[in-house]
Every structure is written in structure tokens, then in C-alpha cells.
Symmetry: C7
Subunit: 87 residues, 7 copies
């Protein structure tokens, strides 16, 4: 179905491996860090993730995680390669 | 099942590749930008997405994202090829 | 399982191609327009859709969309071939 | 698994074809009408459906639909062959 | 995986055919009646169902249904063979 | 994927057959009793279940069920072999 | 799809076997303990789990569970190998 010039979502994720990434969950929790893995269900592994909550356009750092973290695909709303700019 | 004159949803998305698109999520977040990829689960990749919230019929620009973003299919309610007219 | 006289839901949708249709989502958003496509997950494509909200039995036109729109099957509650009568 | 005397849900629906039916959705919307089709996902087609809301045990007629309507299986809670008695 | 002495849920349901049953939905609606059918998705058919709401430990009879009713598996939380004792 | 020393969730459930078990649902309802069956969807059968609600750390016994009960897997959050200690 | 340097989520979980783990559910319940098993649906088995609720950045210990516990994959939001640092 996808024309040759089209890009598959999993390809975009694949190209983000070892790169900064910004992930937003259904609960509005946000995470930035380095994407180091994923699977076909868009479960992802983030390294040294920082957890944020956005209150009235202000990014509040909730926690700095050391090491790896799995975020479950069925809760992910948005995944932005390159990370979050205004932090 | 679909008669020859009928159009498959994924065909419509396919024809929107590299075109403006307007996407509304279950949480009422809205995004406009260029559609550059998708898959069979209607996960989509949008380039240079603008994020909007509609308050009392007013489009409020929440954020301008540079580069690519993945929006997860299980949260998408509406996808409008051609983008949002009144912004 | 279905007896010969029975009608499959996708057949009803198929017969509504290029016809008026009225669609209600889980969020109570309503759309009328021309049905021009669908797939097995009841994702549908509507042309020139009008968006409505029903307040105290009054149909309020929210927006007129030009062109095609995809509505995602997992949010659709009701699909009425022939469109909405009292608008 | 099912003993010979047991009845499969889809058989019960099948036997309700062209019969009155009463359907209740997760949103508590209720519909009565003639069941004319269904599929394995319990998507159903109802003819000349009447829409009801029950307020303090009173059935309030919301709308009378002419013609066919599809009700999506993933929102259906209850399906009662024979229709609703006290309307 | 299941040891020989173990019982499969569908077996328990199968043994409840033509027996009293008590079913509780996610919306806290409760039904008692005779189980006459089911399928692998735990969609069930109940005969002459009584509908209950429990308020402050009091069982309030909401409605007596005559004939058969389908309850959709994805809303069922609990199914108790033998019915509800304290009604 | 699982290394030999690892334990599969269904194995843990299998080893709990005919043992006390404590189950917590998404609605925060809790059940203790004897686990006598399960399937691959983590639908479980509990014998002589006691139903609890926890209010301000106090376990309140809601109901004692006699005989078997099916709890549907898609609502189960936690399953604790050995039952609940502080009741 | 995944490049050789990429890590699959289930591999990360697999490497956490017999290690401390921190798990957060959709209901915001948190658990720390030793991960001793999992399956492809990210159902997990935790040994000697401690249950926490986070109130205004304070970790409140809700309960100490002895032995094994199954946490159902469809409720898990986050899984952090190595456990929770600030407890």
C-alpha cells in the first residue's frame, strides 16, 4: 500500500535508535532520553530518561531515571525523534 | 467486499503522503503538518507538526514541532487530508 | 452462521457508498456527509463532512469540512445510511 | 467445548433476524427495532430503530430512525431478542 | 500448561449450562437467570434474566426480562455459577 | 526469549492451582479464595471466593461466595499466589 | 526492522530476571521487587513486591507482599530495571 517515497512509522523509530527521543503517554506523563530499543507493538526502551509534567506551558522535571526503562506501547500517544526542544 | 468505485481508508492516507494533514486524537489534541508515513494500524508520521487546542471555536497554537513525529493509531479519531482550513 | 436472508454489516456499508451517511462517535461528535470508502475495521472515508453536536435535541453545526476525512473505526458507535433526517 | 444442548450467542442473534430486538450500549443509549443483520464481531444492523434513554425507570423516546443503522459491536453491552417489553 | 486436576474457565461455564448464573458487568449492572449458551469470547446467553443494582448492600430489582438475552463478553467482570444467594 | 531460570506467569498461576489466591481487579474489587482453574487469557476460576473492599487500609468483607466463580482476565490487575496475609 | 545494535524490549526484561525492578501501573500504583518471570504480553512475576503510592513526591509504602505476584501486562505503563532509586 505505501508508495516507495513513504516512510513506515517503525522505520522512523528505527532511525531514532541511540538518538534523543521525546515520548508522551495517554496520562500526559512525558519522557525524554535516548531511545535504545523498540518492538512491533511500539513498546520502547529509553536510556537515562527524564520524566516531565507540563503545567501551564512550563516543563516541570519530575524525576531523572538512570539506566534503562520500558514504556508500554498501548499507552504511548506521541513519539518525537530528536527529543523535546524547549527543555 | 468493497465495490471497485469504493476507496479504502489506507488508500486515502496513501494519497495524502507529502501533503498537509489534520489529525485529531481521542484527548482532543489536534495536529497539522505534512504526512510522510503510516502503517496498517494507522500509526502515522507527521513532519513539522503544529499542535493545537480548540477553545470555544478558537484554534490555540500549543507548540510547533520541528522534524518528524509519530502519532499512535489507537488514539487517532479523525484524519483529514489537506489539513485544517481555518488556521 | 448468517442465514441467506440476513445482511452483513459490511454489506450495508458497501451499499451506502456514494450515499449520504450519518456517523456518531464515542465522544458524541456527529458527522454527516457522503460515504466514499471503508475497510474491514469499519474505518470510513467521508466526503464533505459536516460536524455536529447535539445540545438539548438541537443540532448545532460545528464545522463544514471540504474534501475527504477518515474516521477511525474503534471510535464509531453508530453508522446510519441515508444521513440524518432532521438537519 | 459446548455441549450439544447449548446455544451459541451468534445462533441466538441469527434466530433474531427479521425479529424485534432491544440493544443497550456502554453509553446507556438504548435501541429497539428489527434486527436484519450481524457479523462475528457482533456488529449489528437494525431497521427502523427507535432510540431511548431511561430516566428514573421512564423510557424517553429520543429519536425514530427510518431505514437501516449499524451499531458497532465493541460498544454493545446487551442484546435482547424480542425487543423491549414495557415501551 | 494446565495440570490434569485444573479446570478451564470455559469448562466451568459449560457445566453451568441450563443452571442458575449470576453475572456482573463493568458498569456494576448485575444479572441473574439461567445460562443457556456461551462462546469462546465469554459472550453469554441468559434466559429470563433479572437485572439488579446493589445499593448499600441492598439488591434492587431493576427489571425482569422474559426470554433470551445476550451479554457481551468484553463487559463481563464476574460470572458465578449457581446464581446469587441473597436474593 | 526467557532464560531457563525464568518463570512464565502462566506457570506461576498453574502452581497456584488448589492453593489460596488473592486477586485485584481494575475496579479495585478484591477477591480471596482457592484458585481452581485458568486459561491463556488469565480468565480464572476461584472457589469459595471472599470479596473485599479496602477502605483506609481496612479490609472490609463485602460478600462470601459459595462454590465457583469466574473472574474475567481483561479486568485483572494483580494475582497473588498464597492469598492475602492481613485478613 | 531493528538494526543489530538495537535492543528488544523483551530482551531488556529478560536481562532483568532475578534483578530489582520498578513497575508503574495505569492506576498509578507502583511496585518494587525482584523480577522472576514474564511473557510476551509483558505479564510479569515479581517476588517480595513492595507496593507504593507517590503523594506529593513522597513514596508511601502501602504494603509488603511476601512471595510471588503476577502483574497483568495490559495495565503496565512503565517497567524500570534496577528498581526505584529514592526509596
Amino acid at each position: 500500500m505505501s508508495a516507495p517515497t513513504d516512510i513506515l512509522p517503525l522505520e522512523v523509530i528505527d532511525k531514532t535508535i541511540n538518538q534523543p527521543v521525546w515520548i508522551i503517554l495517554q496520562s500526559n506523563r512525558e519522557f525524554t532520553g535516548t531511545l535504545i530499543g523498540f518492538d512491533d507493538f511500539v513498546n520502547v526502551i529509553v536510556e537515562d530518561a527524564k520524566e516531565w509534567i507540563v503545567n501551564e506551558d512550563q516543563n516541570e522535571l519530575v524525576m531523572e531515571h538512570k539506566g534503562r526503562m520500558l514504556l508500554s506501547g498501548n499507552n504511548i500517544v506521541m513519539l518525537v525523534p530528536g527529543g523535546k526542544k524547549d527543555i
